[in-house]
Amino acid sequence: MQRILRVVAFAVVGFAVSAGMVHAVTDGSGDPVAVKSDDGKWSDKDGNPTFKIEADGTVDWYTYVGFTRYSAECLRCHGPDGMGSTYAPALIDSMKRLSYTDFYAIVAGGKKDVSASQDLVMPAEGENKNVMCFVDAIYAYLRARGDDAMGRGRPQNHAPKPAFYAKDVEQCMG
């Protein structure tokens, strides 16, 4: 039975690719396809933050912000582009199983995996405005990376800054 399922799954993936569907993947939060925009901030059908990438590679504003904030706050442990390092796991892999709620809980509350063989400790960022004010943007960016919807490095083009973005950030950062 398992073998048949695998064959079917393969056929479905094959169909999706040949039909030119870009996001026939599901990740830890399910289907990442963007369905709703709140002033440039995209969410999927379940209301989770997500990315919106145009055919020419232009990314939405928040995914772009996610890249910059990830690279400032998370890169020193998790490596460039969510690829992991000798110090902390590759988040492009973790995103395949973590739901938005899981992700949020780990970022805000931290994580400890201390054993005889390794000492992995993720700090609680709940009080860190440089992270928490951008946690949805960082999620959207990593989701796009995990789903292979965008490549490595800085997005070459991004949607314009939404009208209320600066004010929102100011309010959050205090």
Binding site: F67, R69, C77, P80, D81, V121, P123, R154
Partner: protein
């Protein structure tokens, strides 16, 4: 006062303080080390000798026979994180340290490294994520029969060298604010010196002296703040020959920003017993967003020369005023005596993260040479050497690469070197035989975009996004070079696929050793750079190569165990954001070459 008289007075002061203290063992700790460092069989300090030359007078292993080198024995530290620094050897015992949890082993060299004792502190694992760039430690120091270790949680501990038992321990700072211990201490006379890491958390840097006898703090000198905190005399402490004046640091910061201003002190220390000065550098100002901290941000990015007894600064020199690229100034200060222009000069040579190799007079702080030691360096055209210029000693910054000039939320592209620096903490070596310096370097550039951040104690305080890629025109991310500090010129350069992140060792045998991130220990000819030997150790090398003699036989040893900034930045490989569409993305990924795990590998020649 003439120099001879002042020396006599100084000697008198030492003598009288000796009589007052009346503690022979405390007073002789450093005197012992001055004698002990001359015995090439042992390695009694992390810098090998006080002058930080990383030169060994051993010559059994030489350019003719190094090709026959074999592994004599190995030792696993049982720790997976990045292994920086090197072991010490004192007589029949080798002292090996490891990253967090900061294990220290004493190994019996008479019995192939049998464990004599092991020290493993219990530390709160919450210190792990406040260690920027891996839980590294750069080694232990020896003095007065004790082994000194600055733990990750900023506990300075003195262990009985014979038993490993804690003699005393003292807390030097607060990890809840992001302060951590990573650097190797140094012992001079009756004091042990340590500094602090935490520039990415807004930790204000300091160096402190503790009594080797009981752990009491004798003095503490901050990198930033009021003159009383800096331990400077506004009239007597000089910078480039001139008194620094009152409030030299406060004037260069806005408001109270100096309190979270960084300038941390996580590099190596050196000591000149004749001049009675210790030398070290301070790191980047916090945050990485230069717009947020107007001014020169003194004394971040600075070379300090201090009196080891009182802490008072004799001279300072800020290499990168108002840093805009994270070019920490902590790299080692190498003390040499060399002929320059027909006279013997007492030099201090420093290969800065900013890509300039500096040569100064170490007595006065006079700047003699400042030249790029990687031709790719582009953020500044040169250092102004004109003594009559108002910019004397300052770098001439190129506007295009100035993240201050380009401003917040603007991506400054193609800045060389990257924040890794042309060289990081991995120390260079100097051979008095060739008069050359052997420098492990990074050949990596970056894009850097600063933006506004808020400060929360104990949380990262960075404020910049950066992407890194190999310097234009090649795919190699590192070079191992030979440098003439008198002229500021590269003599030869061996390209390496990855950044060279291992400390070098020069030897009287005409061989220079270094390690690579793939894990090779390499031996090259000191004159030509020609590769004479290589061996792939179990993991990437970010430790420093050392050599010692035991039972009449010379050994070479190095810790492997990939990690640190190198392991974080290069594990997944770099991509070039400017390669254009269709270009094959990505350079070699370190993770395809090596994996985690700390091992000491000891090499020797086969029995003849």
């Amino acid at each position: 006062m003439n120099q001879a008289l002042s020396r006599k007075l100084a000697a008198g002061t030492i003598l009288s303080s000796f009589l007052l203290i009346g503690s022979a063992s405390a007073q002789t700790a450093g005197d012992d080390l001055l004698k002990m460092e001359k015995n090439a069989a042992d390695v009694v300090m992390p810098t090998i000798t006080y002058d930080n030359q990383r030169y060994s007078a051993l010559d059994q292993i030489n350019a003719r026979n190094v090709g026959k080198l074999q592994v004599a024995w190995t030792f696993s530290t049982g720790v997976l994180r990045g292994h920086e620094g090197a072991p010490l050897v004192i007589g029949d015992v080798m002292y090996v340290h490891a990253p967090f949890p900061n294990t220290v082993f004493a190994l019996d060299l008479n019995h192939d490294g049998r464990i004599l004792w092991k020290y493993e502190p219990k530390q709160d694992p919450n210190v792990i994520p406040v260690m920027c760039c891996d839980t590294v430690n750069r080694g232990v120091a020896y003095g007065d029969g004790k082994i000194f270790l600055h733990q990750a949680d900023t506990t300075l501990v003195a262990l009985d060298a014979k038993t490993g038992k804690v003699v005393w321990s003292v807390k030097t700072d607060d990890p809840a604010k992001g302060a951590t211990g990573t650097e190797a201490p140094m012992v001079v006379k009756d004091k042990v010196y340590v500094g602090v890491s935490g520039g990415e958390f807004g930790v204000r840097g300091w160096v402190a002296a503790y009594s080797v006898a009981d752990g009491k703090q004798v003095w503490r000198a901050y990198s930033e703040g009021p003159d009383t905190d800096l331990l400077v005399d506004p009239q007597k402490t000089t910078s480039l020959g001139k008194p620094i004046g009152a409030d030299s640091s406060l004037k260069t910061w806005q408001g109270d920003q100096w309190k979270i201003g960084g300038g941390d002190t996580w590099g190596w220390y050196s000591y000149d017993p004749q001049l009675n000065l210790i030398y070290y550098g301070s790191g980047n100002p916090s945050t990485w967003n230069p717009k947020q901290r107007p001014g020169d941000n003194k004394w971040s990015m600075t070379i300090f020369a201090r009196n080891p007894d009182t802490g008072e600064a004799k001279w300072v020199y800020q290499m990168t005023p108002h840093d805009e690229w994270d070019y920490d100034g902590v790299n080692e200060m190498i003390l040499t005596d060399q002929q320059m222009g027909g006279t013997m000069r007492h030099l201090l040579v420093h290969f800065d993260r900013n890509g300039f190799g500096y040569t100064l007079d170490r007595a006065t702080g006079e700047l003699l040479v400042a030249q790029k030691y990687d031709p790719a360096v582009n953020w500044a055209t040169k250092v102004d050497m004109d003594k009559s210029s108002s910019n004397y000693g300052r770098p001439e910054v190129v506007a295009k690469y100035s993240t201050e000039h380009n401003g917040e939320d603007t991506n400054s592209q193609g800045v060389c070197p990257a924040a890794l620096g042309t060289k990081d903490e991995q120390p260079a070596a100097y051979s008095p035989e060739t008069g050359l310096f052997y420098v492990p370097t990074n050949h990596v550039c970056m894009d850097y975009e600063p933006f506004r951040v808020s400060y929360t104690a104990g949380q990262p305080y960075v404020g910049a996004t950066l992407s890194m890629y190999p310097a234009p025109g090649g795919t190699n991310m590192g070079n191992f070079i030979a440098w003439d500090a008198r002229t500021g010129k590269i003599q030869w350069s061996d390209p390496e696929q990855f950044s060279v992140w291992s400390g070098a060792l020069a030897t009287k045998g005409g061989v220079v050793f270094y390690g690579t991130l793939e894990g090779y220990l390499k031996a090259v000819d000191a004159k030509t750079g020609k590769e004479l030997y290589k061996f792939k150790t179990p993991s990437g090398i970010i430790g420093n190569v050392m050599t010692y003699e035991h039972g009449g036989k010379q050994y070479v040893a190095v810790l492997s165990g990939v990690g640190g900034w190198a392991g974080i930045g290069l594990a997944a490989g770099l991509t070039d954001p400017h390669a254009g569409l269709g270009a094959v993305g990505g350079y070699a990924a370190l993770s395809n070459y090596t994996s985690l795990g700390g091992t000491l590998t000891v090499f020797a020649l086969p029995p003849s």
